[in-house]
Symmetry: C2
Subunit: 406 residues, 2 copies
């Protein structure tokens, strides 16, 4: 007999029972956005590979400008000009200057660049400098951005557009990322019809498959939707066996009746190991986790809101574990607009609508029974009331996980 | 002569000069995830369309159970059974009960369901009920979730997986969304080589095109990357004319030299109206905005970090305006790990690395000159120091915009 586990115990179970298994593939820079980096990335060259000016102006030896002013400019012969995109082919002679554009190479011998604004071209081959230059001024030095061996990105991170820029800068145009997992989704229940069908008496539309498909796709995995299977243990077993053969993980959703729940348990047990039966959260208690070899099998609650939270809180971390993905998450601070009571003993999750009012973020809890998915449409986020907490008073500060567009 | 504008003025300018222009298309439920909803969505039916049980048990009239206890159960003849996925074909007789599964239809005449746990099947066609039922107990009523005419999703929202679930529940399988915009990206500068090329003397890799392509793709637009154009006004004009013909908006990036900047200005002016030249932010001041007919043309700074912030802060809101997209954003509260000074007069943006430590979120500002994109690799977010602020002391509370995976 398996006991109901706390959310922390479930996450620890996932960590101990499953290992990174997705493998690595190489994708192009533009295809790497949002993917999970599969190796640390170190630079192999200097960026930039030459000293660069950050302004339009004149490269000088700083000491040749010391003490100059508007009234007594330093007058330096113009030795030449550096063109954009070309090397500085000659070094700077002492007591001379060389014109350089923003981003252009600073010639050897120069240690600073004077901005155009502080210079005057006398038209006779000399330049007047009216402000002292400090060594290093207006320059980026070779390797300032990065040097060979410097690790710029850590394995496991989800690549952002900044990261894509950094990879471009060091010329890593083939990026090692975790292969996309394939996750199978099966809905069960005699009462379910596909979303495009008008439900007959006693029937409801299958909400979980399209919702799970959307969540999983947004998380970066491929989804095979096996559709709806009626409440028949033989048919369901056949479908699960097929899905386990074709996928890296299988989610069985629905089956709110006791018969289907028991069948799901027996099927998962028959295919490998049953690891978990029940999580101390609300909604979402009737959750099953097992594995067939290294592949996770999960039975999710039939109620869409419960299935939503179980997927957010446990399925995505499980898939993240298989991809060795950094799952760091951030919450925003908000004040709750009305008091919410809670069941002692179970962590309780609530969706909320968010509103910025007078510089304060207000969270309006969405009331409703756990089966009512449409009440969650347009929800901006969710918050948790811990299992040792009896509720929250109006105005209490809460941490909200943002879900809009997610 | 156009004056440098504050960020607020630029956003107001975008609002006044541009209008929603993307148009509407219909996509399937699973393709609608992350898209911008183009119309309010109202339900056209009741969900559920029948009274439903939320537990396995017996449908009863509550009054027939009043006063019963473990010791003195109410004994009710079992009138029949409701099967999952079928209607309740007969109404409940007074002082009888009907078996219903979780999610099953509750027959007419019944006003509550007693959980299996509080009942005993005597095997003689009668059921003992050991706990009083309250009217409405363990039931979801017809239309509890949604009723015809109820608006469940507002135009402009970015569809989340919860929203997809809600659309499935009401049978909206063709979803009206804003058409994807096509945005052209052009890089200019004699010093640029594509990321796959090893830079020669005085050359650097083009960071902005792949970074912008990643950001824009993640934002949900199509990108045409026109590659690198050398610093030649005729060639650049040709390319911009072509891009304006093919795209809904065009971004000209790079051109850090004064010559290229001036050329970008002249080209944008020649194609329509120049609206803005310079924004009072750091980095990102040398930004140009114009329009050719209703199509925005933007000249971004050449420095990748500056281009990054200008895109985040102004390009995405501009594209959001064209798609009529809700741009509500949330920030997380963090404490800054070291003091940061600021330039009075310009809003200053800093990337930071984030660390959870002892339950507090710490933001480590990333130092570095604005051209240094690799220092931003792995940054978790950014914060702003307002233009009237001279800096932030160590430990100050700041609002961080999360950018990881973004």
């Amino acid at each position: 007999m398996l006991h109901v586990k706390t959310p922390e115990e479930v996450l620890a179970l996932i960590e101990s029972e499953f290992s990174p298994a997705a493998g690595t593939e190489y994708v192009s820079l533009t295809a790497a956005m949002g993917r999970v980096l599969a190796e640390d990335i170190a630079a192999t060259e200097y960026v930039p590979d030459f000293d660069r000016s950050t302004v339009d102006g004149y490269a000088v030896r700083a000491r040749d400008t010391f003490g100059c002013t508007d009234a007594i400019p330093a007058i330096l012969p113009l030795q030449g000009e550096v063109l954009m995109g070309q090397g500085a082919e000659f070094p700077l002679n002492p007591e001379e200057c060389i014109a350089v554009p923003t981003g252009g190479a600073v010639p050897g011998g120069a240690d600073s660049v004077v901005m155009l604004e502080y210079t005057e071209d006398y038209g006779d081959g000399t330049i007047g400098i009216s402000k002292s230059a400090a060594p290093g001024q207006n320059m980026i030095f070779r390797g300032d951005d990065v040097y060979p061996g410097k690790v710029i990105l850590k394995k496991g991170c989800v690549l952002s557009s900044q990261d894509i820029g950094a990879l471009a800068a060091i010329g890593r145009v083939q990026v090692p990322v975790a292969k996309k997992l394939t996750v199978g989704v099966i809905s069960t229940g005699d009462e379910l019809v596909p979303p495009e069908v008008v439900p007959g008496p006693g029937q409801v539309r299958d909400v979980n498959s399209p919702m799970l498909e959307a969540m999983l796709t947004a998380f970066g995995v491929n989804v095979i939707n096996y559709g709806i299977v009626i409440d028949d243990e033989v048919l369901l077993t056949e479908k699960v066996v097929k899905a386990v053969g074709e996928c890296d993980a299988v989610l069985l959703s629905g089956g709110s009746s006791v018969g289907v729940k028991d069948a799901a348990c027996r099927i998962i047990e028959s295919m490998g190991t049953l690891l978990l039966h029940g999580i101390a959260i609300k909604p979402g208690k009737p959750t099953i986790l097992g594995k067939a070899g290294i592949k996770p099998l999960m039975g999710l609650p039939g109620h869409p809101v419960a299935a939503y939270f179980v997927t957010k809180l446990f399925v995505l971390p499980l898939l993240g574990r298989l991809m060795d993905r950094d799952m760091t998450a951030y919450t925003v601070t908000a004040r709750i607009s009305e008091s919410v009571s809670a069941n002692h003993g179970r962590a309780q999750y609530h969706c909320c609508r968010l509103e910025h009012r007078d510089g304060i973020l207000i969270a309006h809890p969405i009331r409703g029974k756990s089966g009512l998915i449409t009440t969650l449409a347009g929800a901006g986020g969710y918050f948790c009331i811990g299992r040792d907490c009896e509720g929250l008073p109006r105005g209490a500060e809460i941490q909200v996980t943002i879900t809009s567009g997610d």
